[in-house]
């Protein structure tokens, strides 16, 4: 019963209860009892507003300034998380539309390091392509996706690197090279060629694909116990590095790591089965990231035992590791990159503090497109480049630039070498422009692949060679294949 009726009947009850007949009062009493109950009103469903009724009066128009009121809502499926980035980072190594080059020969173990290859375009064998993919040697900016299968030009610098590798293999020397050169001159591709030659020669290959990924504080870190001064390990990064090493060096054709048995007795936090192989050792580190650094140390110790294959240790984007990292220590001061264990390991070998008893090559490629300013590295490279031209004319240090003494100390052999040998232990390979013969060779390969529609004659080669800034191979590719005006 609604409240007004209830009140009214209540007042009537007090006024004329005596005057009422018994029949009527009995009926009213029934109504009064219902009147005092509040439960019905309480449990009733709330009155719903009528739908479609405008709040305002009919005929009144209100101003609606909401953005995008009239635009159609896009109801399509959104890309899944990470899908767009994966599409951006995808490495495509084949183009089904490109023609097969009949004359293309593969690198073979017998003659990959021979000097006769200069100026030839050689294909990379399939197993090596898989291994290179595993160590992330291919970059998205390189033009692999245009051709039927990966192939590279054996240019002058490649042959120089091949000679270095041959010397390291034959005399069990540790030779270190820094790859420098202009933008788009092919430094990363030369590094890739070095890696692929090492794979073909069945070396052990350890590649740090991008130095920036190690120091940009995207992976977890922890101080290494009993280290003075404190070093820092990166467990997740080391574990993924171990899995890359395993995938690249233990292929179906050359199951190197499966064959080699653990001979030393490494101190590991986890138990290793007796008579274990290197593969089992690495898998231990992959499965337990907290043990990855001790496993890496044990692996390195195993690989440097006598009778093991030579080692290729490489890094791209070296400038990033020649400065302080983005990690902070307990005093909230930046940690120097050299205090990260992986980088410390690399720098020890690059500076010559440690050597490889079975021989090997340490390669450090610089970058011109993604490089922080590192005056010490730049100066060392400049001095080494100038010495190759004329040993008496080397540039002097600019005293107004900030020096990083640890980097200067590490690259001592580069800017003030003591060795007088013909083949210096630490040197620069300056990646310059192609010669016209090399340019012609690679352009003939382009044309045979069907990617360049032109008659390759002297005039055409010279034109493109000049447009490419005296044979800069990246610019040459842009001008001829990529149709970049």
């Amino acid at each position: 019963m609604p409240p007004p009726t209830c009140l009214r009947s209540f007042s009537q009850l007090s006024l004329d209860s005596a005057a009422r007949a018994s029949m009527a009062s009995r009926a009213r009493a029934h109504a009064q009892m219902a009147c005092f109950s509040t439960s019905a009103a309480r449990y009733a469903n709330p009155v719903s507003k009528k739908k479609g009724m405008a709040q305002t009066k009919k005929g009144n128009k209100t101003l609606n300034v909401k953005k995008g009121r009239n635009t159609v809502q896009d109801t399509g499926k959104r890309p899944a998380q990470g899908e767009r980035k994966a599409a951006r980072k995808r490495i495509v190594l084949t183009n089904d539309n490109a023609l097969e080059v009949a004359t293309l020969k593969d690198m073979t173990k017998a003659d990959v390091l021979s000097e006769a290859n200069q100026g030839r375009v050689l294909g990379i064998p399939e197993a090596t392509v898989d291994a290179l993919r595993a160590v992330e040697a291919f970059k998205t900016t390189q033009g692999w996706s245009l051709f039927r299968r990966p192939a590279t030009l054996m240019r002058k610098e490649t042959i120089e690197l091949a000679k270095v590798m041959k010397a390291a293999e034959d005399d069990k020397k540790t030779l270190r090279r820094v790859l420098s050169g202009e933008r788009l001159s092919g430094k990363s591709t030369l590094l890739l060629q070095g890696l692929s030659m090492a794979f073909v020669r069945q070396w052990i290959v350890i590649n740090l694909p991008e130095a920036q990924d190690i120091i940009n504080a995207h992976t977890e870190y922890a101080p290494l116990p009993d280290s003075q001064p404190t070093q820092y390990t990166q467990e997740t990064y080391t574990a993924s590095l171990l899995s890359q090493i395993l995938k690249a060096n233990n292929t179906a054709e050359n199951p190197m790591l499966e064959k080699i048995k653990v001979t030393t007795s490494p101190a590991l936090p986890l138990a290793l089965p007796a008579d274990a192989t290197l593969k089992q050792l690495i898998e231990l580190g992959i499965v337990n990231p907290e043990a990855s650094w001790p496993v890496f140390v044990a692996l390195w110790q195993e690989l440097t035992q006598p009778g093991r294959p030579p080692i290729m240790l490489a890094v791209d984007g070296t400038a990033h590791m020649m400065k302080e990292s983005d990690y902070l220590n307990a005093e909230v001061k930046p940690i120097h990159s050299f205090d990260l264990t992986i980088i410390r390991h690399f720098i020890d070998h690059l500076s010559g503090a440690k050597s490889l008893p079975n021989g090997g090559v340490i390669l450090a490629a610089t970058s011109q497109s993604n490089a922080p300013s590192t005056p010490a590295l730049d100066f060392s490279v400049q001095v080494a480049e100038a010495r190759q031209v004329d040993p008496s004319k080397t540039p002097r240090w600019n005293p107004y630039k900030n020096i990083d003494p640890r980097v200067m100390e590490a690259l001592k052999d580069l800017h003030s070498p003591t060795a007088k040998e013909q083949l210096k232990p630490l040197d620069v390979i300056k990646v310059g422009g192609l010669s016209k013969d090399e340019a012609r060779s690679i352009m003939e390969y382009y044309a045979e692949s069907g990617m360049l529609r032109a008659k390759i004659d002297d005039g055409f080669v010279t034109e493109k060679w000049s447009l490419a800034g005296m044979g800069n191979i990246g610019e040459l590719e842009r001008a001829s294949v990529r149709l970049r005006i």
Binding site: D74, G76, P79, R84, K85, A87, R88, V92, N95, D96, N97, A98, L99, S145, L146, G450, M451, R453, A454, K455, R478, R482, L483, R484, I485
Partner: protein, 345 residues
């Protein structure tokens, strides 16, 4: 092969006569012996034919059968008539004659129907594309290279440098050294005067066209006549782009003449477009359709990828740009009555 019959000369229904060759094949070998009765068509001696009229009056003589009539007609007009030694298929005889077609056996009617439906639906009796001036292979730059060196010119005395080889190369002029279509698309891709970005996008588009799989051509949406087979397109991305743009470019635009219809009503008048104008319209349609597509990747390549996939869908006949072109042409046809040509004197 020319039609066996001059269809236009037939004005009456014609009796059915079986296909000569089919009859010959079905005939058993034993019937090689001369028969008593001969059919009309291969009668050698006119008098032996039972129905032959022997009257002398020309107007009373019956007409010859259709093949004879057609060959006589061809004789007069100087053309090549049907071969009288063979029979004429009945389909040829009744072609174009609706009344006679109704009387055909069911099998032949169905065959006729299936033949009629095999032609593309949108095909018209008139052309919907322009023929380039100069004709022939001048339509497309197929990107073919002549591998023979040009003949050596006779050395003219008194010249410091060699005579230029004629014709001059297409990229010989500094300001016109790039392909005209690529140049035009680059300029239309450009936003806020950032030409280098537009050039990068153009290179990415061409790279996408080169690496995408071979397109499948839709017969309902015919490309320009003289187009190379689709398998050639990815190897020549500039031709791919040119073909897509030229195939969907409209022939005309509708200009609305204000007040020409009287009473303040605009009169639509179709106006023919030049080649560069037609390409511009088509490129803008394609770019508009591409910007409505959804982005599949992040980074700088997104727009170029969308444009490239729109170009591929144009070639494959899936793009909405084709409908747009058809709409413009339809409007042009309905408005062509409004064209007032100057009166001849």
């Amino acid at each position: 092969m020319p039609p066996r019959l001059n269809v236009l000369s037939l004005a009456r229904a014609i009796p059915y006569r079986p296909k000569g060759q089919a009859q010959w094949l079905s005939r058993p070998a034993a019937r090689l012996a001369p028969t008593q009765t001969r059919t009309y068509s291969d009668a050698k001696d006119e008098d032996k034919v039972p129905a032959a009229d022997r009257s002398k009056r020309i107007d009373a003589k019956p007409l010859g059968h259709v093949s004879e009539e057609a060959s006589a007609m061809a004789d007069i007009t100087g053309g090549e008539g049907p071969d009288l030694s063979q029979g004429t298929p009945v389909q040829d005889i009744v072609r174009g004659d609706k009344k006679a077609e109704e009387k055909l056996p069911k099998v032949m009617k169905e065959q006729l129907k299936s033949n009629a439906s095999s032609a593309p639906k949108g095909s018209r009796s008139y052309s919907t594309s322009t023929t380039p001036i100069g004709g022939g292979s001048g339509a497309f730059d197929m990107g073919l290279m002549s591998m023979t060196s040009p003949p050596a010119e006779a050395v003219a005395p008194g010249l410091k440098f060699e005579m230029p080889v004629l014709p001059l190369p297409k990229d010989g002029h500094l300001k016109h050294r790039y392909d005209p279509v690529v140049d035009q698309v680059t300029n239309l891709l450009m936003r806020h005067g950032m030409k280098s970005v537009a050039q990068r996008n153009m290179a990415l588009i061409l790279q996408q066209l080169r690496t995408a799989s071979v397109p499948t051509i839709n017969p309902q949406r015919p490309l320009l006549p003289g187009a190379p087979p689709p398998s050639h397109l990815p190897l020549n991305p500039v031709l791919y782009l040119t073909l897509a743009i030229d195939s969907v470019s409209p022939l005309l635009r509708i200009r609305n003449m204000k007040g020409a219809a009287g009473g303040g009503v605009a009169l639509p008048i179709p106006v023919p477009l030049g080649q560069r104008q037609r390409r511009r319209t088509a490129i803008q349609w394609i770019l508009g359709a591409a910007s409505k597509r959804k982005t599949n990747t992040s980074g700088k390549t997104g727009y170029a990828q969308r444009v490239a996939s729109e170009i591929i869908s144009v070639i494959e006949g899936r793009s909405s740009v084709w409908d747009r072109r058809n709409m413009v042409h339809k409007a042009g046809i309905s408005a062509r009555a409004n064209i007032v040509l100057p009166r001849k004197r």
